[in-house]
């Protein structure tokens, strides 16, 4: 199925939770989804035979700028059996960034979500082991947010050099 057909299938099934289909920008078109519905949509995509998205290629957080109020989370899915791909996008407010986990659907999401939590401070509800993965446990702040200010010192060591 191409992304447009998948968008139609999802709209029929989930209605208002599917917010739109974005083809305006160059590159991959993406389907926008309400953050609360993301786990259900992913479950549906993974378990329906005609879709069968059995691998999550990439899960990334995005911060488009200091002035933006939202953080985006992007899911790149691939179905090995039908050899098709789809991009899902959802956004959560920076001040209260949380959405359901998909780590029970694809196990690779476990570490990818931990990375998004580590670098963007997005909380994935229902994730069994959500802790920092790349940075030290006592690091403060979320470095990939555009408004991040690096600390002057970390445990007595100067950070900017």
């Amino acid at each position: 199925m191409n992304p447009e057909e998948i968008y139609k299938t999802l709209s029929d099934k989930f209605g208002g939770a599917i917010l739109g289909y974005d083809t305006e920008l160059a590159g991959d078109p993406n389907i926008q989804i309400a953050p609360t519905a993301i786990a259900d949509v992913c479950q549906f995509l993974a378990e329906t035979d005609t879709l069968a998205f059995d691998s999550l290629m990439c899960l990334s957080g995005i911060d488009l700028g200091v002035k933006e109020e939202d953080l985006s989370i992007v899911y790149h899915l691939y179905g090995m059996q039908h050899r098709h791909t789809v991009v899902l996008k959802t956004s959560v407010p920076k001040t209260d960034a949380h959405l359901p986990t998909v780590s029970h659907i694809w196990k690779t999401a476990d570490w990818h979500e931990r990375e998004a939590y580590d670098l963007y401070g997005i909380l994935f509800e229902g994730h069994t082991d959500l802790r920092r993965i790349l940075l030290p446990d006592d690091w403060e702040g979320y470095p990939l947010r555009k408004d991040y200010q690096e600390p002057d010192f970390y445990r007595g060591m100067r950070v900017p050099y």
Partner: protein, 401 residues
Amino acid sequence: MESTQQTESKIIELKPFTDEMIVNMGPQHPSTHGVLRLELRLDGEIVREAIPHIGYLHRCFEKHSENLSYPQIIPFTDRMDYVAAMNQNWGFCLAVEKLLEADETKDFEVPERAEYLRVLICELNRIASHLLSFGTYGMDIGAFTPFLYAFRDRERLLLLFEKVCGARLTYNYIRIGGVSEIIPLEPGSIAEQNYLDEIEGFLDYFEPKIDDYNDLLTSNSIFSERTMGVAVMSEEMALSYGATGPNLRGSGVDWDLRRDEPYSIYDRFEYDIPVAKDIPELGAVLGDCWSRYKIRMDEMKESVKIVRQILAEGLPDGPVMADMKAVRPPKGEIYFRSEAPRGELGFYIVSDGTPKPVRVKGRSPCFSALSALQELSRGLMVADIIAIIGSIDIVMGEVDR
């Protein structure tokens, strides 16, 4: 009062079994292929749980990328998988080129000669990377000789890379729109002929060596005992954990991006994709450490095949860089994946139309494959952990980015 309760609950949490011992393996340990720390919870010699702790080599690749122009990011990709840096350069350039192609107002095409040079160099780099994997895996298991042989041959490849770009490990050779012209390789010149002859000389020397190495290590009975039937990764598990490349093919999935989602000029060459299967007469089980290792040995032969086809055809004439003034992709986003030696290397780039990207995410094949370690190692022996890490072939530079 409250604090004591907390400490007590911590003790209970850490010691669910009376005889459990917690051992830190790493971060400084040669068999971890870099700086990986494993928190092992042991019952005697049985591993109850092996929890990987990564991040010791985190250099903020993604944060740096947001402050650099596209061509400036390429040297940073070198430092992701420093064992196969050519492939990393290429993966990133492919993603940016794909985004540039999406801009309909501009005509953008990578020249033919550059495509041939890219495939040539990247396949040689794949051999170099698999050689390192083969050599260090032997050493992990306790055979020192393969390591010396592998590094001897890899050295010749590094000299070949040095001749086109001046560097041995971090090349910055493949650029957006073509390849670097720092050391010019004029079409039809003696320098070019000598270079191609040298590659052919290497292939003639190296191809029979692969069989030697198979005799030396692959069919070695101690090596087989240590790797066959150990840590079997099923097809479903491999897909769910996002294991790709040799790890996925080692689990019996016939999947290779070079063939299944052809990019560049891979559709012009003939080569096979080695896929693992059960070999009962040897004792190998589909998806075990040995299968993953064997895929790499077989892939070296296939890479030799591809390089030989390029040498037979000869490099086409023409420029090695596309005609363009500045790298300025249109507003948009792209995820592009290519087949690096360790699996699917993806780059997700978000552009706002300026010379600097808004977001670059490197989807590293090792990062995903390593996340399967915890489940793979449950219930095995401590020594098997080393066999697993070597067989999934991680490079920490890429895991931590």
